[in-house]
């Protein structure tokens, strides 16, 4: 690929424009389905991050960044970890010191101990998914952005 930037292919653009919503829907399915089948937060988060990365690869890096701005990305990358760790801390607070850290049964979602644990597992998976997605996207765009900047400077000289 020489010249200014990569050449844009209509086929790749159209196909990925059609596919990206379905990839994102599939990733959400993987995260939510983690409790009852194969899947989980890590896998779903990686697939969701890969959809944003695909957008950044096929279209421009800058327009890819516009879809998931840097400020939102930074907030999301810590939000998932806050959900996970905060849920664990909430167990101690809401049971006033009876439960241990991450003992989800004491959260007052429902009246059943086991149901609380099942719901908390889902929430934890969502938190893991958010963090993994944001970190994947953040690493990719940081690396790609620098590469693009260097290429532009090289073209100028």
């Amino acid at each position: 690929m020489k010249g200014k930037g990569a050449e844009r292919s209509i086929i790749v653009e159209t196909v990925s424009r059609v596919m990206i919503p379905f990839i994102q829907l599939f990733s959400l399915y993987v995260i939510i389905h983690g409790a009852s089948g194969p899947g989980g937060g890590f896998q779903g988060g990686v697939v969701l991050g890969a959809s944003f990365i695909l957008y950044g690869v096929v279209f421009d890096i800058t327009s890819g960044r516009k879809r998931l701005p840097e400020s939102v990305n930074t907030v999301l990358s810590s939000l998932g970890l806050y959900i996970f760790a905060g849920l664990g801390l909430l167990c101690i607070i809401l049971s006033s010191g009876v439960a241990q850290y991450l003992n989800y049964g004491f959260l007052p979602f429902t009246t059943h101990f086991e149901e609380n644990r099942a719901l908390s597992i889902e929430l934890v998976e969502i938190g893991i998914g958010i963090t993994v997605m944001a970190i994947m996207v953040s690493i990719f765009f940081d690396l790609a952005w620098k590469e693009e900047k260097r290429k532009k400077e090289g073209n100028k000289d």
Binding site: A35, F42, E114, A118, I121, V124, I139, L143
Partner: protein, 176 residues
């Protein structure tokens, strides 16, 4: 001749031999009845009419003494394994450490003239009681998010740290 490469070669070949030995020792993959997954052998004693006691769900006194002598928790009751001849499950009650309810703990099996006493591995409890305790049908997920929650929290923190390191090293545009 330099001495360091020779010593290094010796240790590396020792490590290779160890790995080969360990790989030979691995049980058949996925077999739920293979010893390391199912039980740990504790000791074995002579049968001597203990079988009749166990058959009537009574724990014999010399078996109890044996547990006491070796420092294992005392079983509270014995039950026959359904459909198996000469096998019993022993339960421990709630005064023991780490368990809040009655738990299936020992596996007693008659082998020839000896009575072997085994302790069930944790995996057995994980498979049998996990769904009922956490309300989640997926064995991997309740392990990941509930039983090993600390581990998963650490893994997520590792990923977060990797991302933050890349931001600190590469993102030098004045704003975060």
């Amino acid at each position: 001749m330099k001495r360091l490469p020779v010593i290094a070669l010796f240790f590396i070949s020792l490590l290779c031999a160890l790995f080969i030995y360990v790989a030979e020792d691995i049980p058949v993959f996925g077999d739920p009845n293979s010893p390391p997954i199912k039980y740990v052998k504790l000791f074995s004693i002579d049968v001597e009419a203990l079988e009749d006691h166990l058959e009537r769900s009574i724990i014999p006194n010399n078996l109890m003494d044996e547990f006491e002598k070796r420092g294992f928790p005392r079983p509270s009751r014995v039950e026959k394994v359904t459909g198996m001849e000469g096998e019993w499950n022993a339960f421990i009650s709630k005064e023991e450490m780490h368990y809040s309810k009655e738990e299936k703990y020992y596996w007693i099996k008659k082998k020839g003239n000896k009575l072997g006493v085994y302790r069930y591995a944790f995996v057995v409890r994980w498979i049998e009681k996990g769904q009922q305790e956490t309300g989640t049908p997926n064995m991997v997920t309740y392990g990941l998010a509930d039983y090993r929650g600390y581990d998963t929290l650490g893994e997520t923190a590792v990923i977060f740290t990797a991302g933050i390191s890349v931001i600190l090293l590469l993102r030098r545009r004045g704003k975060l």
